[in-house]
């Protein structure tokens, strides 16, 4: 235990702790939106499309995360636009952008002379190497998301629950869809450094799956997701330190185990509650 507390003396660990905390907030809120609206597949497409931006960043020598943000938001709006306006099948549009982004990423990284530093940390993430500036971007995003959801909560729910009904009420459905999908893209890209492209979707869905076992209300689900996300990240981080394994994978593994355990406990105690109800009448 003292060893673990001593960890806080290391700057990199304090950064990792903060990154886990802020990542949990952004993924908790945005993930609840993603799961509720059933846009997990769209989010997967955005995630992988953003790899194109990372590759271009390497080749042209700008910050790969900047490229990823541009690719993420453009593909997010692209999917919205193509499926609603150009009458393209939504899943096909997603698959095209998904693989196009990956292909561009691979091509540009291949063309970049020499070794591509940190490439693995974009694919699999490394919470221990999150830089101060990345932490500040993540913090700004978290503050913005919290503000946005506090101010527009009712409208977000209105537009998300029954889009057609919202349209008949002249609500700004498309504007909100576009804003929210852009926030989804930003959240995904800024969390890529924490758990990586391949694993970021799980940070947006597993805490929500756990929260959904306890509540079926949007607001409470957001809060529980943040708590479980943080719990899983910290435990995973600690495990990665103790066993010297990659942090991203350790975090996701912890979250899945947590989900499994709680689900089993619910199944057993749920049966007990059902039996009690039967006895009582």
């Amino acid at each position: 235990m003292e060893n673990l507390i001593a960890l806080f003396n290391f700057g990199f660990f304090r950064n990792a702790f903060l990154a886990a905390f802020i990542a949990s907030i952004t993924c908790g809120i945005i993930g609840t939106y993603i799961v509720s609206r059933r846009i997990v597949f769209i989010s997967g497409g955005i995630t992988h499309a953003s790899f194109g931006g990372i590759g271009m960043g390497y080749y042209f020598g700008f910050d790969p995360i900047g490229g990823a943000i541009a690719f993420g938001i453009l593909s997010a709006l692209g999917i919205e636009f193509f499926t609603k306006r150009a009458n393209l099948r939504e899943d096909s549009a997603i698959a095209i952008l998904w693989s196009l982004g990956m292909a561009l990423g691979v091509i540009f990284i291949f063309l970049t002379p020499g070794y591509a530093p940190n490439l693995m940390s974009y694919l699999f993430g490394n919470i221990l190497t999150v830089s101060k500036s990345e932490l500040i971007y993540l913090l700004i995003l978290a503050v913005f998301i919290i503000g946005f959801f506090l101010i527009f909560y009712r409208m977000i729910i209105f537009v998300s629950f029954d889009e057609e009904f919202a349209l008949t009420n002249n609500a700004p459905v498309r504007l909100f869809n576009a804003l929210l999908i852009s926030l989804v893209a930003l959240t995904i890209v800024l969390n890529i450094r924490v758990v990586g492209i391949i694993l970021v979707m799980s940070l947006l869905t597993i805490p929500q799956a756990i929260a959904n076992l306890f509540t079926k209300r949007f607001d409470i689900m957001m809060i529980y997701s943040i708590v479980f996300g943080f719990l899983g990240s910290l435990t995973g981080l600690t495990l990665s330190y103790i066993y010297d394994i990659p942090s991203g994978a350790a975090i996701i593994f912890t979250l899945v185990v947590l989900y499994g355990l709680i689900k089993i406990i619910f199944l057993i105690s749920g049966k007990a509650i059902l039996n009690r109800e039967k006895v009582n009448g």
Partner: protein
């Protein structure tokens, strides 16, 4: 700008609350409704019947402003418009609703008031009271804090009906309210509609001609075009305008279903 919904409708002062004039509507290149005329008056109770794919849903979407007319127009009376929103209550088909969405009954009902709100709107206590009143009228105040995923089809339908009514509409549009709902609730619903009809006009889309014939005052048969029949008698002419076998359920000693011969 594709981000904003365009409001297609015209507002005038007239005898009917809504008038559809020479309307053609559809999707893309596909025209589904041709030359439709219909005027809806204050206390009308119109049963909209017709085969699947005949354009019932297209008609509703045009009335609700979800799709623009390809030609012709829909004119709304002044009294039908409040701010920038038409006073139309809409009950969608229950399978259009995502039952896993994490939202409570109370929030579903209150969301019917959102058109009055600014983007950041909160509900006033007056509005909460109105929602509560409606819920107890419909017998769902006991489940107001439950998530919709925990409810039966009939309960969800009641919540959606409250949502449609909470903003005091002058026209209530119901899209196949009798699907996935048990018979007892269906009867209750129609009795409720009969009472509501004293205050507002109703447009009821249904495939069950037999049951609604007791309640509606007139029919609109939609099959590419629209034929209007006043009176609630199911006549051979009415059935002919369908041009398709439809189901009539007669109640008798032995439950049976009568199908009209298909026009070959």
């Amino acid at each position: 700008m594709w981000l904003w919904k365009t409001n297609y409708s015209h507002i005038k002062q007239m005898d009917s609350i809504v008038e559809i004039r020479k309307l053609s509507a559809g999707y893309g290149q596909n025209i589904i409704l041709h030359d439709v005329n219909l005027s809806i008056k204050q206390f009308d109770f119109i049963g909209v019947i017709g085969p699947n794919g005949g354009g019932k849903t297209t008609l509703l979407k045009a009335l609700l402003g979800l799709i623009p007319p390809m030609s012709g127009e829909i004119v709304y009376d002044e009294s039908m418009t409040e701010g920038k929103v038409h006073r139309i209550g809409y009950l969608p088909q229950i399978n259009n609703i995502d039952r896993k969405f994490p939202i409570t009954v109370f929030d579903v009902v209150r969301s019917g008031l959102m058109s009055r709100k600014r983007l950041t709107g909160r509900y006033s206590s007056e509005e909460n009271n109105r929602a509560n009143e409606l819920m107890s009228e419909m017998g769902i105040s006991g489940i107001r804090n439950k998530a919709i995923g925990e409810l039966s089809g009939g309960q969800i339908q009641r919540a959606l009906l409250c949502r449609a009514l909470v903003n005091n509409p002058k026209l209530l549009i119901l899209d196949e309210p009798n699907t996935y709902v048990d018979n007892r609730f269906e009867r209750e619903l129609y009795e409720k509609l009969k009472i509501l009809n004293n205050k507002l006009a109703i447009l009821l889309v249904s495939h069950d001609l037999g049951t609604i014939s007791t309640y509606v005052k007139s029919y609109a048969c939609v099959n590419g075009s629209l034929h209007y029949h006043s009176g609630n008698k199911v006549t051979p002419e009415l059935l002919k305008s369908y041009e398709c076998p439809i189901q009539i359920i007669s109640h008798g000693e032995i439950p049976h279903t009568v199908l009209y011969n298909h026009k070959s």
